[in-house]
């Protein structure tokens, strides 16, 4: 059976896996974005708190994902929980870092102006600082998503959802006639998903970054 025949015969299962993969990554990204931006907002104004947040998240990133999932299994069991926790933790770093960099990068004279015309702390954050920091934050989200696409494959090790199952099945049955097809289908699926997500982010950027601060293209 060649690769195309394999895809034809297994497309049902592959689509389900792909959907679950995408869905897991997407949901974890939403959580990571919210948590990451909140951490950024809370810490960016203090030198040490901001550095602590960045260092902590980058330390998490250095833990091999397989080890992380292995460590989580005894605590939260198999299946979805370790997958979600691991993905969210890994997704945090680029978002936290870019949120802090973005918020700190807002021109202080603009913050001064916002204060000076009578904006409250919250209004300043919501109407001036976050909108201006949004382009770097969105970049962080993009980077995170690319990374999670790959890491999510490892989640299959903990019986998690997604295209990783395809890859692990292939690896487990190396030598059998479909082993290579399985690994290939899983890997290519992840790549295709990653590209689709990236295209979606470009669109999101177009829609959410105001024309006044978009990179010159008008």
């Amino acid at each position: 059976m060649n690769f195309w025949e394999y895809l034809g015969s297994r497309h049902q299962q592959l689509l389900i896996d792909a959907y679950q993969h995408a869905s897991a990554v997407f949901q974890c990204m939403v959580v990571a974005t919210v948590v990451g931006v909140v951490i950024g907002v809370v810490t960016y104004r203090s030198e040490w708190a901001g550095n602590l947040a960045t260092t902590t998240t980058s330390t998490i990133l250095t833990i091999p994902s397989l080890a992380m999932i292995g460590l989580l299994i005894p605590i939260v069991g198999l299946g979805v929980p370790p997958t979600v926790i691991a993905l969210t933790l890994y997704g945090l770093l680029p978002i936290v870092r870019n949120a802090i960099v973005g918020l700190r990068g807002v021109d202080p004279s603009l913050v001064d102006a916002a204060k000076g015309i009578g904006m409250s702390r919250l209004a300043r954050l919501a109407r001036v600082e976050l909108p201006l920091a949004w382009p770097p934050i969105l970049t962080g989200i993009r980077v995170s998503t690319q990374m999670l696409m790959g890491i999510a494959a490892i989640a299959a090790y903990a019986s998690g959802p997604g295209l990783g199952n395809e890859i692990f099945r292939g690896i487990a049955s190396l030598g059998s006639k479909n082993a290579l097809n399985q690994v290939l289908a899983g890997t290519l699926g992840i790549i295709v998903l990653a590209l689709l997500f990236d295209a979606a982010y470009v669109l999101v950027g177009r829609l959410t970054i105001p024309r006044g601060i978009r990179a010159r293209d008008d």
């Binding site: 004279s109 102006a113 009578g118 904006m119 909108p131 006044g212």
Partner: protein, 429 residues
């Protein structure tokens, strides 16, 4: 200048965004001090100042003298560590700063416009925060754009980066004035634009202030800007100590000490010329003829006039040519070839400095003064200018002396009372 708008000013601060425009409110600084922790000397040391309603006061001083800090304490962007601030008679030192700032316009260097919002959104910010309804905000945005000389239809939807520096600054001023605050603080607002644009913006601000009568506190390090704009100027030295707080005329003619005269710089008399207008000096009449007049009449006028020159006007009464006695003869009676063209004129609103410039470049040492539509109204020459300047300077000097004299007298009287231990009220004549 002080106006009888105390009541309007007070109500403005008290939170009435009334239909009619809000006039300025008086600002009073009492022992205002800022002491940053960890530094031995205060950054601003006990400033006392009374700014009248509707007055434009300029803080001027070398960089690092605390003028900006003093300004930012008025809207409490920097919290004072001591002293009181009163606006329109109301003590605002402990008021909620966010509420206070919505009553105080604030314009800064490089405009401070939010790049992610359109011009209209930027201007609408403060009215929105104080809860105006949509229709009123929309009308107000148009009105403000119009006020600062930008076409509402064209600029409404633009983003700040699509504007020139001068236009951005105008929008910045429009945003500061949008909710009609009685007080406007301007922190080196024209510091980042080119000299020509800056000149325009200054003229605009003078015009605006004529219409609006806000109380404006303006910070700059440019003394010429201070002279041009200020009703009164506070020359500040380090720690915001007031070296002199007086009218531009008084500071130019009678600087309080070496620091002030150093800051005034060379050419005080020349700078003084910027403060007077052509309409303040004597404009002399000149014999004139109109191009359509018959040649014979022009000849007669030339002969009968005491001067050896007459001014030829065009059909609309605008100055056209200077005619000397021999000119017509030499041109064989042709007006088209005779005489020299009038190339420079000044209006009655021009500063004496402009007039002097024109007189100096004119080879006969005089310049034609024109009215609003360019029509001839008279002539100013070197002699008139010299005399007027002498008179002005002399008058300034006398004023300053009198002022000083009064001050000394009150001081002497005070000392006397203190020495005699008499209660001040009774002994007063």
């Amino acid at each position: 200048m002080p106006e009888t708008t105390e009541v309007a000013g007070v109500s403005g601060v008290a939170g009435v965004g009334a239909k009619g425009a809000v006039f300025g409110a008086a600002i009073e600084l009492e022992n205002l001090t800022k002491h940053y922790p960890g530094s031995s000397a205060p950054a601003v040391d006990s400033v006392n100042m009374q700014i009248d309603a509707g007055e434009l006061v300029v803080f001027v001083g070398p960089s690092g003298c605390g003028k900006s800090t003093t300004l930012k304490m008025i809207n409490r962007l920097i919290e004072p560590t001591g002293g009181r601030i009163r606006i329109g008679g109301e003590d605002v030192t402990d008021m909620d700063p966010v509420k206070l700032r919505r009553k105080i316009g604030y314009a800064i260097q490089a405009s401070g416009l939010f790049p992610h919002m359109t011009v209209a959104q930027n201007i609408a910010l403060v009215p929105k925060m104080v809860g105006w309804e949509k229709g009123r905000i929309r009308a107000r945005v148009e009105e403000m754009l119009d006020l600062v000389g930008l076409d509402a239809g064209e600029f409404h939807g633009r983003y700040p980066r699509q504007l020139s520096g001068g236009q951005q600054q105008r929008v910045g001023v429009a945003r500061a004035l949008a909710a009609d605050p009685p007080v406007l603080l301007m922190d080196e607002p024209f510091g980042a634009v080119d000299p020509i644009t800056r000149d325009h913006l200054q003229d605009e601000l003078i015009r605006l202030q004529h219409e609006l009568h806000k109380t404006i506190v303006f910070v700059t390090h440019d003394f010429d800007e201070a002279i041009k704009l200020g009703d009164r100027i506070a020359v500040l030295r380090e720690r915001s100590h007031i070296a002199q707080f007086d009218t531009p005329e008084a500071i130019l003619t009678n600087p309080a000490d070496d620091f002030v005269s150093g800051f005034v710089g060379a050419g005080a008399a020349l700078k003084r010329l910027n403060l007077s207008r052509v309409r303040d000096v004597e404009i002399t009449g000149y014999p004139t003829v109109i191009v359509d007049d018959p040649l014979q009449e022009i000849f007669n006028k030339l002969k009968s006039s005491g001067t050896n020159e007459i001014l030829l006007l065009d059909r609309r009464g605008r100055p056209y040519k200077w005619l000397r006695r021999g000119d017509l003869m030499r041109a064989r009676g042709s007006l088209a070839r005779a005489g020299t063209l009038v190339h420079d004129t000044v209006t009655r609103d021009a500063t004496l400095r402009d007039a002097l410039e024109a007189v100096l470049t004119d080879n006969a040492g005089r310049v034609v003064v024109t009215g609003r539509r360019g029509e001839y109204t008279g002539v100013v020459d070197m002699e008139t200018l010299m005399n007027s300047v002498h008179e002005l300077l002399e008058a300034d000097r006398l004023d300053a002396l009198e002022h000083q004299h009064e001050l000394e007298e009150t001081r002497a009287e005070q000392t006397r009372h203190e020495q005699e231990g008499v209660d001040g009220g009774e002994a007063k004549a």
